[in-house]
C-alpha cells in the first residue's frame, strides 16, 4: 500500500510540475498576428505535453505494479486520454486544429512523439517483477520532447527546465537566455504568478519566438522537493528543500521563424 501511494505521489508531482497555464496570464510580445499565433502554438504545445504527463501521472500505480503485464497503455490508448485532457483544459479538441496549419502540424508532431515514446517503452511499462520503473511524467516529458525535436527539427523545440539549483537532469539545464529569464523575470519578487514570458529571440543563429511558462510547487510537489533538505526522496534523489509556491520549473518552447 505504502509503495503504491508513493508512486501516485511521484506522478502527482510530475503533473503539478508541468502545471496548467491560464491563457489570460501569458505575456506575449504584442507585435503582430504571427507573434500572437506563435504564442498560441507555444501554449498549445505546453498544454499537450502537460496533458500527456497528467495521464502518465494518473497511471503511475498501474505502471509500477509488478504483477500486471500489459498495462494497456499503448501509444494510441495514451494519446486518446491526453487528447481528452487537452480538450478539457483548453476547450479545444486537437482534432479540430487544421493539420495543414503550423499549429496543427506541430501539435500533430507532438502527439505522434507521444505515441512513439509510449510504443517504444511498452517493454518497460509492461515489465512484471519490477515495481518502480522510473517511467515518471518528467522522463515521459523529456522523451516526448526529444522525439518532438526530431519530428519538428528546425521548426520548434519543447524543453522542461527550471531554476538552475532545481535541475536534477543536466539535459534539462537552462541555456543562457533561459537562465537569464528565470533569474531576472520569473524569480523577480514582483513577477505575477502564472504569467508566462515570451520574446522573439535569436536562437542558434536563427530568429525564434520563445515562450517561458512558469510552474510552481504545490503541496504534492513538496513530497519529493520539499523539506527536510537533503533527505532522500522515493526516486533516491536528495530533496531540494523547496517551499510552497516557489518557482519549481519552466516549460520552455522555441518556435523558429
Amino acid at each position: 500500500m505504502v509503495r503504491s501511494r508513493h508512486w501516485r505521489v511521484t506522478a502527482t508531482v510530475a503533473f503539478m510540475f508541468i502545471g496548467a497555464i491560464p491563457a489570460s496570464v501569458i505575456c506575449a510580445a504584442p507585435d503582430g498576428e504571427d507573434l500572437r499565433e506563435d504564442l498560441l502554438i507555444g501554449k498549445s504545445l505546453a498544454d499537450m505535453l502537460l496533458a500527456g504527463e497528467t495521464v502518465i501521472s494518473r497511471e503511475q500505480d498501474r505502471i509500477n505494479d509488478p504483477k500486471f503485464g500489459d498495462k494497456g497503455l499503448s501509444g494510441d490508448a495514451l494519446i486518446e486520454q491526453a487528447r481528452e485532457t487537452y480538450r478539457k483544459t483548453t476547450g479545444v479538441d486537437p482534432a479540430t486544429v487544421d493539420p495543414a496549419s503550423r499549429h496543427g502540424r506541430l501539435l500533430r508532431a507532438q502527439m505522434d512523439a507521444i505515441v512513439e515514446v509510449m510504443d517504444a517503452n511498452q517493454a518497460t511499462i509492461n515489465a512484471t517483477g519490477t515495481g518502480f520503473k522510473g517511467f515518471i511524467p518528467a522522463v515521459f516529458a523529456r522523451l516526448v520532447n526529444e522525439a518532438f525535436a526530431r519530428r519538428a527539427k528546425g521548426e520548434a523545440e519543447v524543453k522542461a527546465t527550471g531554476p538552475p539549483d532545481r535541475i536534477r537532469n543536466r539535459k534539462a539545464r537552462p541555456d543562457v537566455w533561459e537562465t537569464d529569464v528565470i533569474k531576472s523575470r520569473l524569480l523577480a519578487p514582483n513577477w505575477p504568478r502564472d504569467r508566462a514570458y515570451s520574446a522573439a529571440v535569436e536562437t542558434g543563429g536563427r530568429r525564434a519566438f520563445r515562450v517561458m511558462v512558469p510552474q510552481y510547487y504545490d503541496e504534492t510537489c513538496l513530497a519529493c522537493h520539499g523539506s527536510p533538505k537533503g533527505e532522500v526522496d522515493i526516486t533516491g534523489y536528495p530533496k531540494e528543500g523547496a517551499k510552497l509556491n516557489e518557482l519549481g520549473g519552466v516549460i520552455s518552447i522555441i518556435l523558429y521563424q
Binding site: 535541475i167 536534477r168 537532469n169 543536466r170 539535459k171 539545464r173 534523489y237 536528495p238
Partner: protein
C-alpha cells in the same frame, strides 16, 4: 659512618638513591621525548598515508560520479563528482607536504583525466556516445596512472612509517634494558647501604637496650657503650649520666637511711621524751621515753594523734597544775605557746612530776617537742634554795653578831689602851724601864687588836649589807696632797722615795671621801710596807672610755712583788700573799678585801699587776660620778657622828690609815 649522626646518614642514603632515580628519570624522560618525536613522526606519516589513501578513495569517487553522470545525467552526480574532486584536492595538498614532487605528477595526470572525462560527459549529454566513449577511454588511461601513482605514494609512506616505528621500538627496547640494569644496580646498592645504615644504628642501639635493661634491673655496673657522635651517642651519654645519677641516688638513699636509723636510734636512746608533730599538728614520730614520762597518756603517743588530743588527755588524765585556769583556758594557752617558733616551759603535775617542754618549729611547719623530766632537778633546786636561804640567814646573824661584838669589844679595849698609854707615858717620864717596856707592849698589842676589830667591823657591815656611803664633792688635788702628807712618814721609814703625779687641774669628783681615802691609804701603806729603799709612785688621771668617765688612781712600787698564785687570792678576806707575810709585815689580811668591796660599792674596781721581785701596780678606777643617790644631810650627819664617836678617841682617820696593812 659512625662519625655522622643518624639523620645525616639517612639523608645521605636517601639523597644517593634519589640522585640515581633522578638520573634514571632524566635519561628516561629524554628517551621518551625522542620516542615521542619518532612516534609523532610515525603519526604524521600515518596521517599522510591516510590522506593519500583518502585521496585515492576520493579519486575513485570522483571517477565513479563522472561515470555515473555520463549515464544518469543527474546534476546530483555532477555535484558529488565536484565534491569528491574538492576533497581529493584537499587531501592531495596534505600529501604534497610530504611528497611534493610526486603530487605534482599526480595533479598533472588528474587534470588530464578530468579534462577527458568532462569532455566525455558533455558528449554524452549531447547524445554523442561514440565521441563520449572515445574520450572516456582516454580518461581511463590517465585514471590508471593517477591510481598507480597514489598507490606507490602510499607504499612509500607506509615503509617510511614502518622504519620510524621500528626505530622507536628499538630505542624503547634499549632504554628498557638500560633502565632495568640501573634498577637492579639501585636495588642492590640500596639494599647494601640500608643494611650498613641499619647495622650502624641497630648494633649500638641493641647495646644501649642491654644497658637500659641492666639499669632497670638495678645493675648500675652494667657496661654502657662508648658515646659516639650520633644520636645514639647522645643517648649513651644521657644513659651514663642517668647511671651516675642512679648510683648517686642509691648512695644518698643509703646515707639517708643510715642517718635515719642513727637519728631513730638517737631519739630512742635519749633520756628525754621526743615528739615530732607535722604541720597539721599530728604526731609523726615519738620515742619510748615520752610514754615513760607520761604513763597515763602512753597510749596516745603514737603517730596520728593531734596535739590538741594530747592536751585534752593531759587535762583529764595527767592532772596537770592548771595554775588556776580552767581546762579550756589552759589548753588555749598551751596552743598559743605552741604557735611560737621556739619556747621553753616547765609544767608541774599534781603527782609531783615536773617536765620541761622545749618546742621548736621545723622548717616545714612541723614542731619538735622535747620533754625533759626535771622532777629531780626541781627537787634539788628547792633544796638548794632552802639551804641557801638558811646559809644567808646564818651569815646575816653572824654579821649582826660580829658587828655587835666589835662594838662591844672596842669599848673595853679603848679603855685598856687609853689606860695603858697613860701608864706607858708615866713610866717613860719616870724612866722606869721595867714598867715602860711591858706597858708599851700592852699599848701596841691593844692597838693591833683594835685595828683588827675595826677591820672585822667594816667587813661585817659590808657582808651584812649595812655599809652606808655618803657621797660628796671631793677636791682630788687636795685629797692627793693630804694622802701624800700622811704617807710620807711611812715611806721614809723604809727609805722609800714617794713620787706624786697629779695634774693640777684634775678638778673634783663625787664620792664618799672617807671611803676613797681609806682605799688609797690602804694601797699606799701596803706599797710602803713591802718596799725598801725603792720608789713609790702615786698617780692620778682622768680617763674616758665608751661607757663612762673615770678617775684612775695608780699606786706603783718596785718592792718584793707577788707570784701569780698570790695575785689570785689577793682580794680574799684574811689573805695575804702568804702566811709568812703576816708574821714579817704584820696586818690583818682584810685591807685589800675591804678596799675591793668599797670600790665595787662605789661603782669602781681595783686591779693588780705584779711579778715576784719586780714590784706591784695597783689601779683604782672610780666613776667620775661614783654615787647615784645623795643621802639627806641630817642622815649624813648622824652617820658621821656615829663614825666619829667610834674613831675619834683613838686618833681619827689618819691614825687608822697608818695602822691599816
Amino acid at each position: 659512618m659512625a662519625r655522622l649522626n643518624i639523620r645525616t646518614r639517612i639523608i645521605l642514603l636517601s639523597s644517593a638513591l634519589l640522585i640515581v632515580i633522578l638520573g634514571t628519570n632524566i635519561y628516561l624522560t629524554r628517551k621518551l621525548a625522542n620516542n615521542s618525536a619518532t612516534l609523532a613522526e610515525v603519526a604524521d606519516l600515518i596521517g599522510v598515508i591516510e590522506s593519500a589513501n583518502g585521496a585515492r578513495v576520493a579519486f575513485g569517487e570522483f571517477r565513479y560520479w563522472l561515470t555515473d553522470l555520463a549515464v544518469s545525467m543527474l546534476t546530483l552526480s555532477e555535484r558529488n563528482a565536484a565534491e569528491a574532486r574538492s576533497r581529493m584536492e584537499h587531501l592531495l595538498h596534505q600529501v604534497a607536504a610530504k611528497k611534493p614532487d610526486r603530487i605534482v605528477s599526480v595533479r598533472a595526470e588528474l587534470a588530464q583525466f578530468q579534462k577527458f572525462a568532462t569532455d566525455a560527459v558533455e558528449e554524452y549529454t549531447a547524445d554523442r556516445r561514440v565521441m563520449g566513449n572515445s574520450l572516456l577511454a582516454q580518461a581511463r588511461r590517465h585514471s590508471a596512472v593517477v591510481d598507480q601513482l597514489l598507490g606507490s605514494i602510499v607504499t612509500e609512506l607506509t615503509s617510511e612509517a614502518a622504519a620510524a616505528r621500528d626505530r622507536a621500538v628499538a630505542d624503547v627496547a634499549t632504554a628498557t634494558r638500560i633502565t632495568q640494569g640501573i634498577a637492579v644496580a639501585v636495588v642492590f646498592m640500596a639494599a647494601l647501604l640500608t643494611f650498613f645504615l641499619l647495622r650502624s644504628i641497630t648494633l649500638p642501639l641493641r647495646r644501649l637496650v642491654v644497658a637500659i635493661d641492666g639499669l632497670n634491673a638495678g645493675n648500675v655496673a652494667v657496661p654502657i657503650p662508648a658515646a659516639g657522635h650520633d644520636e645514639i651517642g647522645a643517648m649513651a651519654r644521657t644513659l651514663a649520666m642517668f647511671r651516675d645519677t642512679l648510683t648517686e641516688r642509691d648512695r644518698l638513699t643509703a646515707e639517708r637511711e643510715h642517718e635515719r636509723k642513727t637519728l631513730a636510734a638517737a631519739i630512742a636512746t635519749i633520756s628525754d621524751g621526743f615528739v615530732l608533730y607535722d604541720a597539721d599538728d599530728r604526731i609523726v614520730a615519738c620515742n619510748e621515753r615520752v610514754r615513760e614520762i607520761y604513763p597515763q597518756r602512753a597510749d596516745l603517743f603514737r603517730p596520728g594523734t593531734s596535739f590538741r588530743e594530747i592536751l585534752e588527755a593531759a587535762v583529764v588524765r595527767s592532772v596537770p597544775d592548771l595554775k588556776g585556769q580552767t581546762p579550756k583556758e589552759w589548753i588555749e594557752e598551751r596552743l598559743r605557746q605552741h604557735s611560737a617558733p621556739y619556747s621553753v616551759a616547765e609544767h608541774s603535775y599534781r603527782n609531783d612530776l615536773w617536765v620541761r617542754v622545749t618546742q621548736r618549729k621545723t622548717h616545714d611547719g612541723g614542731t619538735v617537742f622535747v620533754y625533759t623530766d626535771i622532777t629531780e632537778l626541781k627537787r634539788r633546786q628547792i633544796e638548794l634554795e632552802q639551804a641557801r636561804e638558811g646559809a644567808e640567814a646564818a651569815n646575816r646573824t653572824k654579821s649582826r653578831f660580829l658587828a655587835n661584838m666589835s662594838h662591844e669589844l672596842r669599848t673595853p679595849l679603848n679603855a685598856i689602851i687609853g689606860i695603858a698609854e697613860i701608864l706607858h707615858e708615866e713610866a717613860q717620864e719616870e724612866r722606869n724601864e721595867t714598867v715602860s717596856e711591858p706597858v708599851g707592849r700592852i699599848v701596841r698589842a691593844g692597838k693591833h687588836l683594835l685595828m683588827l676589830i675595826n677591820d672585822i667591823l667594816d667587813l661585817s657591815k659590808i657582808e651584812a649589807g649595812k655599809l652606808d656611803l655618803y657621797p660628796e664633792e671631793i677636791d682630788v688635788a687636795a685629797l692627793i696632797g693630804e694622802l701624800t702628807k700622811t704617807t710620807q712618814p711611812m715611806a721614809d721609814k723604809n727609805n722609800n722615795k714617794l713620787t706624786i703625779d697629779c695634774p693640777a687641774d684634775i678638778g673634783v669628783m663625787q664620792a664618799d671621801s672617807t671611803r676613797v681615802r681609806q682605799v688609797l691609804l690602804n694601797l699606799l701603806s701596803n706599797a710602803c710596807k713591802f718596799t725598801e729603799k725603792g720608789e713609790i709612785r702615786f698617780i692620778a688621771r682622768r680617763e674616758a672610755d665608751r661607757s663612762a668617765k673615770w678617775l684612775v688612781f695608780t699606786v706603783a712600787d718596785n718592792g718584793i712583788g707577788m707570784t701569780e698564785e698570790q695575785l689570785g687570792r689577793l682580794f680574799q678576806e684574811f689573805s695575804q700573799a702568804d702566811s709568812s707575810t703576816t708574821r714579817k709585815y704584820g696586818g690583818t689580811g682584810l685591807g685589800l678585801a675591804i678596799s675591793q668591796h668599797l670600790c665595787r660599792a662605789m661603782g669602781g674596781e681595783i686591779t693588780a699587776k705584779s711579778a715576784p721581785g719586780r714590784g706591784a701596780v695597783f689601779t683604782v678606777r672610780m666613776p667620775d660620778q661614783s654615787l647615784r643617790g645623795t643621802p639627806r644631810r641630817d642622815e649624813m650627819a648622824a652617820v658621821a657622828a656615829d663614825f666619829v664617836m667610834h674613831n675619834v678617841p683613838i686618833g681619827g682617820m689618819q691614825q687608822r690609815a697608818e695602822r691599816d696593812g
